[in-house]
Symmetry: D3
Subunit: 223 residues, 6 copies
């Protein structure tokens, strides 16, 4: 792949640059010689975290507008678990567009019979379930559980407190029959590998899963 | 990633070395600097093509036995659309095991609302539908169609005749509402990029999709 | 119910005042003595018709914003078949919020075993199917067909040409087993009664269905 | 609508005139100037309550026979949650026929993502689940719970004891994720508004929901 | 099994004694030494054929009443494809009660991936589909087709004309992917074996299937 | 049926002759005068119990090979709950092939609205759930529970300890709404009748259910 190969553009729709930095660090392993660049973008005019339906809808429009400015991209990733703007962006560009909830859940289905989801907060669960129905994946859901204490998006991927909460949630999902756990927020990437090792079942970071699907969309184009 | 990074092992369960060669060529784009090696393996004692349920069952046992000999692998891929031995291998090794039908179909779901499948021969369709029910993806199937003339697995990925047959099948699926088409055989990879360009909708090669999922399973482990 | 009873607010998210007028006329039968007023609102800054995903997303935000300005309403109806902003508005107001696709399809399920949908244009069908999956109603869909010639939203509810196209589509759905037909656009109301009479099966206008559900949400509150 | 406008006929298939009176009172809000009359009918030869499958089957026949005597009706409602005779009556009359379980559940789906049902007694739950499967709504059921103490149909809609039992059941359903609760018996109407206010989520009385759907079937016919 | 072993009672809910005779003949193979007697009963006061919803509902009550008079039975079979009264009878007796639609369809699922149904007349298809949804078997239905010419229930099981119509319908179902065909009427038994031989796929008579399930319910009780 | 009538061949794919003997005893009631012989076969080269995926896969091949040696059979039954080799055998012989999980679950669906499954060990549950999804029966599953203490296959069908464990599991399933319980292992037959009597709900032995379906496949062939 030449230097001019189209990059994978990962959009963090919130304005927290620290979240984008953590995301970029978690994707370091995918930056390979000869492979596409992986750009991580922050929406400076976004909210500090995507917490409400209003945030999701505003981010959707912003993502759609941004998608039109990046015809040079090899793939565009909406890197919030609510994956704002995926349908919209698909209608506005021919560049492949991938949502991280889709990618995370579908990757889990390829690795185990039943999967579970860890939500940052209970309020997100109904929105996630609604999306799983649309996705058609609800029949394989072992369950979804929220962290038992409030954690910010930025905090969710580092530190012992959030790791402990993730272990607690993951253990409950394993007991419910989950063979794979999807991290239900883009900010938890930093704990993925350790969580997988300690839980003993597959743990999937949805942003990493989306980048892998983006690679599949781009790389074979060389042939 | 160091030189000793664990390889992705792609197993062609038939004994046709030419099919393995074509598969390996179609995966060339995934061999990236610093990334895992991608080994393509032929089962010399397999049949020349996986055509029958007996072939599938025999290949399953062979794949399970082989999986036990490769604890060094980063991921194991059962690279026949019937994905023989995936359940078995998962019970015998802790190495991630991925089937290409799962990977192809799930990747299609991440790219479009409805998907279609192109089968090499009509006889495979009931077996595929049965697997889609188990996978839980049947509700999003626009349809599955077989090539309208007999084509060998090896021939299915090269030459104008097989390309024409793929175009005909793909066009029918697009008319049935498919937004993405999965190539229902490991041998069709060679036509993927051109078919996608000419059909104007996403075309997914299941082996490439499986390798992408394998990358996701391996690469983040570095963090 | 007193004069001050809260009104049902029906929002036409496009800027075509003629469409709003037709909608209001089709709801005349629901304006009953002692019942709530039924206001029909045009979004002056909306597009002339909701034709694209971008229109839908922009209308969603506008509907959400508008919802916050109407705490006095008894119910809010998103009166475009793509029902922009229903989830968003629900998160921003305690006033009942109803989408016309939901209302139309669910009313059809209460009247017949299988239902069909008439779309104004083929391009809307994938978006509708996606919503039916989320709604969980896809298992009872006999089929969805588009008008066989282009018709504007405004034109779709009046005149012999559009009536003929509706009859053609409705007849095809009846042949596919539909016992009820949902008009897949807010603009077709004017043809409902005649179409039902001539087809001989139930025909449902989604805006009328939504107003009926709104009445149920408001009226019992008097008790 | 003229004086001769066809009435909505609500059939209480049990012989408890007090239940019919309460039903009629709960529908008072729907009796609007210029709108259809709403007649509530008691089946004098019915059982005092529809408690068994035999009651349901006998009521079905009675409802079918009655339907044939009311070609003058604008709509016929089978106002027992088991909705006896809906299929039968549809085969015998062209008047719209609506069952209250259908109406209640479908209205709930138009108001929230997941719904719950409160049953008067545990013995009804299997019959309800069976109907939800037929209806295709089972995928959106958060759960169904019965009142924890025996309550007669007549008593279920008035008094503090039954209200307390409804609050207990409704709270459990809210904790199971229900965004709307359907009262699983025609007799509970009297508690609807207060229950909705105290639970803080949508509460749907199925008879009111059915009358609203009947209005939608009748009123637009004026146009 | 002693002479006093409880009989399997097969109820033909129509009053056509010739249909009962044909049914009894088709069950001859199940009358085995030491096994239960198989009684075939005609409802003299039933209609000459179960053709309408009213017939079905009346037969349901009659079957329920009859069930209470046969506590001596080993199993009771409602031998009309609409299986009138199965739910009712189950609430009135502890004797196992089996419906022939359930038995036929479920037996087909045990023999092939996808099944088809042959209806005597198109009018029955919506009723059958509704039941398949309740049964949860709709996802494996390849299709249902009606005989292309009117045939009486009695005639449907004998003679070349009805055999030809069955062959035509069965061939269409095979082309739609059915690996097993269920005869959608109790009267077609006489053609089963020949149809299976000529079609080359499994053909299931629902009454025979129900008797087999009844044997399973009775015989192991001896142990 | 003549002496030369084709036998039902029930294959115990493990090598424990005692299990085969118990199976044969539990089928004694099905050996009727004039009916087919019921042969129970042990795979001497099988494992002592089918405990792992590898056992299942090896048994599948063995069952397929055996099926080819028995063109004289009237029906072949794969009598392990994992039903190894059913798909394979169907591709190799025209003799009807029946799996006991299919037969047990489908028979339960013909007897009650919701069913439950008792597994010998927790490790089998994911494999069973996967099969139920493929079967399309997952929507009617009340639940599956494993015996709370380890029991060998041979021991699972006799003695007070295993009976007590079955009662405990069955009671939990009844509390979860199951109207019928399927014994999730071929070895539990000996407890079926007593368990049904003490639990008060239907209990189904899958091997007996499979033999009944085999009778239905064979006996009508006489007509």
């Amino acid at each position: 792949m030449s230097d001019a190969s189209p990059p994978i553009v990962v959009v963090n729709p919130n304005s927290d640059e620290a979240v984008t930095q953590a995301m970029s660090a978690a994707l370091e392993g995918f930056r390979l010689g000869g492979g596409p660049a992986i750009e991580c973008v922050t929406f400076d005019d976004g909210p500090i975290g995507i917490m409400t339906e209003l945030h999701v809808q505003e981010a959707a429009l912003r993502f759609g507008q941004y998608a039109q400015t990046r015809p040079d991209a090899g793939a565009l990733i909406s890197a919030c678990y609510s994956q704002p703007g995926v349908d919209l962006a698909r209608s506005l560009t021919r560049v492949p567009v991938i949502g991280i909830q889709d990618a995370g859940v579908l990757s889990a289905l390829a690795r185990a019979d039943l999967f579970g989801v860890i939500a940052v907060a209970p309020g997100s669960i109904p929105r996630h379930l609604r999306h799983l129905r649309r996705l058609g994946a609800d029949r394989r859901l072992a369950g979804e559980v929220a962290l038992s204490e409030p954690v910010s998006v930025a905090e969710s991927g580092r530190g012992e407190r959030s790791f402990g909460l993730l272990m607690e949630a993951g253990s409950r999902l394993a007991a419910m029959g989950a063979g794979a756990v999807v991290l239900g927020c883009a900010g938890m990437s930093g704990h993925r590998a350790r969580l997988e090792a300690e839980l003993g079942i597959v743990v999937i970071d949805p942003t990493q899963a989306a980048v892998a699907l983006a690679l599949a969309a781009i790389l074979p184009g060389q042939a």
